[in-house]
Subunit: 188 residues, 6 copies
């Protein structure tokens, strides 16, 4: 799995990066990948993937987020997508633990002291699993009614370092998952 | 996903429970399931799933363990098996955190202060994903050279309660994973 | 598999309900489902699924039909979709038999005395199997050249009861199919 | 789908024909096939596929049966296997209806006046879907406690003709299922 | 696999024939198929499948080509699509060898003396594998910078015969591939 | 895809290397791989994969062969296995062409002047595609009735070099196939 961390510019997330081959189209990265960048979040209704959000006319917004766009081509299946997403979220919580931040994970949501730190969605395109994870840098520009928190409030001020640490952690996790899947014989 | 916690008797784990339909054959449980029981662990060579262990002639042993036998029929694939296994291990670490135990997860292994608390394997049968997780109750009967630890040393003395808490946590995790996989539209 | 029978209002079928997650978007029903409702049928050309109909510029129309919209997420495959469709049609014929109606099934079409009682299509979306079955309540508004018949002409006058009986029968059939798929060991 | 009806000799069914490639190994028939033959039925415990039967130590026996051994290579999945099985059983009931026999189908079982006419199992090998259907010619040699009936008691005395009629009906059904699966465009 | 060679008219290729069911929609051919025709090539940007071409703003053009449109429904997977494509290209090189033309294959490209003879793309729709192969009849109308060659320059002047020979060769190859896949037992 | 060429010792092929994870068990190679070695060939009946050979009681033997054992974990499907096998055979013919040897490929068999140079089989295990290709070094110890030829008779005397050239060619071919499968968008 390839890792690209975009540090030299901001990229806003409007939901369109969830489409297949986004990393290849935009950065020439072929195959399984994680692209991490920083920017606003304002998901257009027509790009919303979570039908529950659509049904409730939720807004998905934040002024400043670290974004993870993940694509995996090995297996096209929504149950696998949802499982990998929860594992990646759990891994991010473990890294936050190393920063001394105590998190609570509820499925694919990260909370700190009851405040929401992240958003995430996982689905399939006809050729891949696609995932977006967004972590608030600051809790600004969040939809009303959401009690949010950001990395800065938690003392994680070196955002570039956080992007690197978490990026490496997720790539290592996936590579371990894949390696282990190849070394087991099948059971009767 | 159905949960069965066997409390009225000990069951030793020799590796054969990794075969497909073990929960249905032995307890009449149909479909996705977690069966939790307590007993010795001594995996016969012919039941070993991890070829790395076989290559190194490792022994897999413990005098007293909590065992989780998990079967999922939704998707037969080793990458999915390996992903779900890591997620379940991460969830177990989170529950241990609620007990005040600080763990370190390395893939599918749980460590506490550098000592190994658990063993695990995940693979496929021709009709299902199968998984075993074993957590030491006490660090006795462990193969030489492995620096192990058990629940009792960590202050988790009510093993029945631990089996219940973790069983419910894993079932809830899986149900959340599955539910989320059904509520997302596909991406272009 | 969940069952929803819409009795308090009419819903016309224009073909768009064949899209994935229609039941979740419109009724909040997650996962495998059958939604049954009553209303006109007039399938827009751009929603037509059967390319044979498109090639022959067929019209798909009826003034009053019982509609079944079925979605199954377990397996995304057109051969499975087509098989399940024929089984559901056969089951509907069996229920009609309990009403004393003697039917002839030709694949996915139901005939009574050589007159066409039903229409049906089964296909896949990228995440599910989707199916529509429509049964004429009255043989009115049918495209010219089609010799049709409706439930009322056959003495099935309590349409609400018919919707319930058939709905339950299809759900029970699917649940039996699924249960049986979980209790068989694999063959060499 | 190829059809072979063995008329020149009796073949007893002991369960081993459920293994993959049985038709190719024994008759040189490549690919999807139905082989129909007549003989005793006495399934060895080690060949039993239905774990429910195994759990209840059921016997599967009959002195004289028409046997259908079906193999489909298009899609290896137990849910598909179970669905196709029910469709084939429904089709057999329709053919029996043409003989004037009124049947009741319960999943994969055929009853006439509350008496059991048939047995069936469907599963997968690692490369195919496999199915066995057995229909009593006479209700002799049936395990105790099973209230059975046979074709002869139902007035179906020309067993060769019955084998031909049903064989053709099942092949036509499968071919229709397959053809229909190829002529539908996918839905959004 | 069905073969249709269109000889009575020219058909230009603009890329839209890569969509699923093109052969059924246009010629009523159901299932696996190769349709061969002759005409210009000028692929519209919105129909381009190769994202590498899109990224480089390449033009895909030729004044006169033999086109092969292939669709396979047996298995929907891009790795299979890419493998079958390379096999078909290798087979075309073998047929050219019978014409006395010495080719060099680089993946899915055919070269003669360093000059490009062909273009090709292989991908999936949600229900099938789709492939296009185009072979220059004459090296005219080719994008600047591409050193191309055509069948006529190579002495293959009877284009109709070439379409027939290659069409039969590809169909035979696929049928052999399929037949062989059905006659092997699975390995432990 | 990893390549291992065993040069320091002879390994005889008795058919057991067709089992899954043979490369990992014996050489510690994880994931997609080609292992090339040299030795006798004498396939035990119980290891024979081609049921056609079994039906005809064929012997599979040769005194001295170059053997290729290939395993691919990306996609478990016999049609894909059979396709990849033919592509690899075609690639080997191309390499032989570079040696000045004119071959004729018939599916998965290589002939030179009507004499058989190779044997091959491709199938699946429950977790992988497996393939064996054997090329005669000398036409000795071949079953009666088979008109065979070997590399030495064809002037390919540096067998080590041949093992290297062909090994690299097959790995490059597979890597190209895989890379191409990742760079194409899906078609409607």
């Amino acid at each position: 799995m390839e890792l690209l961390i975009v540090k030299d510019k901001r990229i806003d997330y409007d939901g369109s990066a969830i489409q297949s081959h986004w990393a290849y189209r935009n950065f020439g990265i072929l195959g399984d990948s994680i692209v991490i960048f920083r920017g606003k979040c304002d998901v257009k209704v027509e790009e919303m993937i979570d039908i529950e959000d659509l049904r409730q006319s939720k807004e998905i917004k934040s002024h400043d987020m670290v974004h993870y766009i993940i694509e995996v081509f090995d297996l096209v299946n929504t149950l696998f997508a949802s499982t990998l997403q929860k594992l990646f979220i759990a891994r991010l919580c473990e890294v936050l633990g190393e920063y001394g931040v105590k998190t609570q994970r509820k499925g694919d949501d990260i909370y700190v002291n009851g405040k929401k730190l992240s958003i995430s969605i996982a689905t399939v395109s006809p050729v891949s699993v696609k995932m977006h994870i967004g972590i608030n840098v600051e809790a600004r520009g969040i939809p009303e009614g959401v009690d949010a928190i950001g990395l800065k409030e938690l003392g994680v001020t070196d955002v570039d370092e956080f992007m690197e640490k978490t990026g490496k952690a997720l790539v290592e996790e996936f590579n371990k998952v894949k390696r282990d899947s190849l070394k087991v014989r099948w059971a009767q």
